[in-house]
């Protein structure tokens, strides 16, 4: 077996990211879409952590932490919007959220 290099982590990250993309593209339950976004964020974090280790520089981790913070904020607001939406429309189907257009 080859030793584990950053490329391994990057491939893992890319795969996870693509899973997230697929989730976003294919699911219509908005909560699950959100969760897919979380997956993507995690993929990014893996990337950051991998490079951090690679470059012996903790800045990558710092940015991963910021990503976590932003994710938390995003989740809070997003879920708040979802709740408000659900209260009005009794559905979580993203296809029905289409009034924001011309």
């Amino acid at each position: 077996m080859t030793p584990i290099t950053p490329y391994h982590y990057l491939v893992l990250s890319a795969a996870l990211f693509m899973l997230g993309v697929i989730g976003v593209m294919t699911r219509r339950n908005i909560i699950i879409i959100f969760m897919s976004i979380e997956l993507m964020l995690n993929a990014v974090n893996i990337n950051l952590a991998a490079f951090s280790q690679q470059l012996h520089n903790a800045v990558g981790q710092v940015f991963a932490i910021f990503v976590v913070a932003v994710a938390a904020a995003e989740a809070a607001i997003g879920l708040g919007i979802i709740l408000a939406f659900y209260r009005n429309k009794e559905t979580l189907n993203i296809d029905e959220m289409n009034i924001l257009r011309w």
Partner: protein, 172 residues
């Protein structure tokens, strides 16, 4: 050797749980898989020498954010998920295909570049692993060089909190 086994196992779990998250019918199950996924990612972090990040991952992501999801799922408590509705635009398949092709492309790029002679990145990787990820280092960075982003992030969280309260309240 041990590291390789660990990595591949974890990678398998991560991707497996990821697939489950994306495909599971039941939203609650989705959440459970997501948690599992995150815990595995946390272990990846430990492998990468980022203990603090791993702890944060568990504490904030698994212990905080996902609980929030679970709450919302239970509050909403849908009888019939939206995915049961017909997909009128056939978009999901296009998305799926696109994503798969892109993954292939990225992998190709990575493999292609990995095959090339050692670049600076590779040279750096060759140096022995250090415990760069210890908490003190991260803390020092956060509170010195990245103090302002840190404060901005905290402000962002505060705003998000207030916004969430406003959004979720029935009448203001």
């Amino acid at each position: 050797m041990f590291e390789s086994i660990l990595f591949y196992t974890l990678a398998a779990f991560i991707l497996g749980f990821g697939v489950l998250v994306v495909t599971a019918r039941n939203t609650v199950h989705c959440v459970v898989f997501l948690v599992a996924n995150f815990l595995c990612v946390a272990m990846i972090y430990v492998m990468l020498g980022a203990e603090f990040l791993a702890i944060i991952q568990v504490l904030v992501y698994a212990g905080g954010i996902v609980v929030l999801y679970l709450f919302v799922v239970m509050l909403v408590n849908l009888k019939r998920g939206p995915d049961a509705a017909p997909d009128r635009r056939r978009q999901s398949r296009v998305g799926f295909v696109l994503a798969a092709v892109m993954l292939a492309e990225i992998s190709a790029i990575l493999v292609y570049s990995a095959a090339r002679p050692a670049s600076a990145v590779a040279a750096a990787a060759a140096t022995p692993l250090q415990t760069v990820g210890n908490t003190e280092v991260v803390g020092m960075l956060l509170y010195t060089d990245y103090l302002i982003p840190f404060e901005v992030a905290s402000m962002l969280l505060l705003v998000a909190m207030i916004g969430a309260i406003l959004l979720a309240k029935k009448e203001i």
